[in-house]
């Protein structure tokens, strides 16, 4: 194996990791506010469909990603109304959102199956992109990849270094105390859920315009769930989540290259790798129950009713 192959593998791993990064980072913000939205898979699919459809119809990728973010946020709003205003069970509602998102995207996207779309263009940075090895490894990606790094830095800064981030975390840890201090608990949770939805939507759009530039029913194939597991893996911290996503990107891509490396295992078993890796990683992180207890937002998944 040449350096060239390894660089190719690393570069495609980044591509495979990017949808996971967006979805998991969005979910970090949502969960830090105490809202457990298990509907990431559904929101990703709606984003993938909306982004693809708008991309085809307008030819503009900016509009495509905007539509994907809006689409994801819209169905996250549905989740928020149910769980935050109507106090429904967050686990059950998240599952409903997933099933609904799968159905909605399949229904609305039926006219777009099999259509080709131009992939998001790779940026060519003069000078940097032409560097040997490093140029391909670091400076030959598309805009959404760099965007995901910026988002990660921004979210880490927001959560740890800003007053608004502190308020959001307070709402996720002790909504009762935050409420007593006059924080609009429900409103903050709404915003966090909408942000998570928009990020999942963008994650979906990256799937349908870059990872595999096409639209197919259920094309996210469990990536939304892997993103949810990554949030646990990253103990609700943006940079760790990002690292986890790249690890998963690598696992996903290695299975594609395994045949080329002379490993002769039926492709089905190689395709199982990301799912097995998710389980293994969860076991590894959770094996000591305290890690999760210490890091998980204290009121994650619990309803809060200010009047009661």
């Amino acid at each position: 194996m040449t350096i060239d192959t390894w660089v190719t593998i690393a570069a495609s791993a980044v591509g495979a990791a990017t949808p996971l990064t967006y979805a998991a980072l969005g979910e970090v913000v949502t969960e830090r506010a105490g809202v457990l939205n298990l509907g990431v898979e559904g929101m990703m699919l709606v984003g993938a469909m909306a982004g693809f459809a708008v991309g085809i119809m307008t030819g503009s990728l900016w509009l495509a990603y905007l539509a994907a973010a809006l689409g994801g946020a819209m169905i996250a709003l549905l989740f928020a109304v149910l769980t935050l205003s109507l106090q429904t069970n967050q686990v059950a509602t998240g599952l409903a959102l997933t099933l609904f998102g799968i159905g909605l995207s399949a229904f609305a996207g039926r006219g777009f199956v099999g259509m080709p779309i131009a992939r998001v263009p790779l940026l060519h940075l003069p000078g940097l992109s032409d560097l040997p090895v490093l140029g391909r490894l670091l400076f030959s990606y598309d805009l959404p990849v760099y965007g995901s790094l910026v988002m990660c830095a921004a979210i880490a800064w927001f959560l740890q270094r800003t007053r608004a981030g502190l308020r959001l975390r307070a709402v996720g840890e002790q909504p009762g105390a935050a409420h007593a201090l006059g924080e609009p608990v429900i409103r903050i949770r709404y915003l966090a859920a909408l942000f998570g939805g928009a990020m999942s939507g963008i994650a979906g759009a990256y799937l349908s315009t870059a990872v595999t530039p096409m639209w197919a029913e259920g094309m996210s194939a469990g990536r939304g769930w892997i993103a949810l597991a990554l949030v646990v893996f990253g103990t609700w911290r943006p940079w760790r989540v990002l690292g986890g996503a790249y690890l998963f990107g690598l696992v996903t891509v290695l299975q594609l290259y395994a045949q080329g490396l002379g490993i002769h295992i039926p492709s089905e078993f190689l395709s199982m790798l990301p799912y097995i890796a998710t389980i293994v990683v969860l076991v590894f992180v959770c094996r000591d129950g305290r890690t999760i207890l210490l890091n998980q937002p204290a009121s994650l998944g619990r309803s809060f009713h200010p009047g009661a």
Binding site: A92, L97, G103, P266, C286
Partner: protein, 369 residues
């Protein structure tokens, strides 16, 4: 620090003249009415949406809910499709009551189908008349084994059974795909990815002439009664309920979480495995790359719409089966895509969750100031 948000009272509902108020006791009426209300709301919402894309709602209603069951064969199909949904949902419900969230029934269904079909395909000649019962037992064992993984990992390593059971769905489906593309492929099957057909002695025969519904539907009804008895009259059923309603009290009373988690996952895994082998030994008759149109996931909705009560689940599985049949007939007659079924299912669950709110809360007009 600005004093602004310390002084301001949270603005709740000033733009909406009603507010939610917790009832002093849960409403018995709403407990019964929430599921029918949700079903009606879904149907109205669905047909308004169909009207919107230019389909006459009355005609659509006939195509969806009347035509599929206007023959004996149709009624048989309704019961046939309700069977796997009922089995999976019956199994899931006790766990959901106990706060054990197995969402991987689809995977346990698939493994049950694989194990059961394996017995039928390879041991049929040795087993003779015992083949079919052993296939069903094998299916149950397969589903249980697959559900044992999330149970063990949750208790030993504190991993969430939600993620593990779901990841195992994909793994099970890939395993099935490998089997029917590789070692179990029918040599006489013209290269189609499918196993040889199951012999007659390994196939569930229809209950009556002219329909496809088989004995497993009756087993499902029997299980519903057994589950009702189990939850209401046995100590184990009581411990499951308490474990979900009041985990702290349950721990204080010495109720073992370990036992609850194992029990809940074994019940749901076994039931899903039985559903899986029943589909393969019944209407399908062989292993294919896909043995379920998402029954394991739809069963989550069935369980909630049945309000996690065994008899409620029997009714809601019939409703969900009607949605599947209606979706199929709408595909043929109205050229609607099959995904319309999934859309209806998701909508139904949303409405149900919203309707359940009114069991514990009510709307009160806000006095204007």
């Amino acid at each position: 620090m600005p004093q602004r948000h310390r002084m301001a009272m949270p603005a709740e509902n000033h733009w909406w003249p009603w507010r939610l108020e917790r009832r002093s006791r849960p409403s018995a009426l709403m407990r019964l009415a929430s599921s029918p209300l949700a079903a009606v709301a879904m149907i109205i919402c669905g047909f308004v949406a169909l009207r919107f894309i230019g389909i006459d709602p009355i005609a659509a209603f006939k195509v969806f809910f009347v035509e599929p069951v206007s023959s004996l064969y149709g009624v048989g199909e309704l019961l046939l499709k309700a069977t796997p949904l009922m089995l999976c949902a019956l199994g899931l419900a006790p766990g959901y009551r106990a706060n054990v969230w197995n969402i991987g029934a689809e995977g346990q269904f698939t493994i049950g189908a694989i194990v059961g079909a394996g017995i039928g395909l390879f041991f049929n000649s040795q087993l003779g008349a015992a083949t079919l019962p052993l296939m069903l037992l094998g299916g149950i064992a397969g589903g249980m084994a697959w559900a044992a993984i999330p149970a063990f990992l949750r208790l030993r390593f504190h991993t969430s059974e939600i993620f593990v059971s779901l990841m195992l769905v994909y793994i099970a489906q890939l395993l099935l795909s490998w089997l029917v593309h590789g070692p179990w492929r029918d040599p006489a099957g013209q290269n189609f990815p499918q196993s040889p057909p199951l012999p007659d002695s390994a196939t569930l025969q229809p209950l009556f002439e002219g329909a496809r519904v088989n004995i497993v539907f009756l087993i499902g009804l029997g299980l519903a009664a057994a589950f009702w008895w189990f939850e209401r009259f046995t100590a184990a059923g009581f411990r499951l309920r308490v474990g979900g309603l009041a985990p702290a009290a349950a721990a204080y009373a010495g109720i073992s979480e370990r036992r609850n988690v194992w029990l809940a996952l074994m019940i749901s895994g076994g039931a899903a495995g039985l559903a899986g082998i029943s589909e393969v030994a019944g209407p399908i008759g062989m292993l294919q790359p896909v043995v379920s149109p998402g029954y394991g996931f739809a069963a989550i909705i069935v369980a909630f719409v049945g309000r996690l009560h065994p008899f409620g689940i029997v009714l809601s599985s019939l409703l969900m089966s009607a949605l599947y049949l209606g979706g199929e007939s709408a595909q043929v007659e109205l050229q609607l895509p099959s995904s319309v079924t999934g859309l209806f299912q998701g909508t139904l669950l949303f409405f149900l969750l919203a309707a359940e709110l009114f069991i514990h809360f009510r709307l009160r007009p806000v006095a204007r100031t």
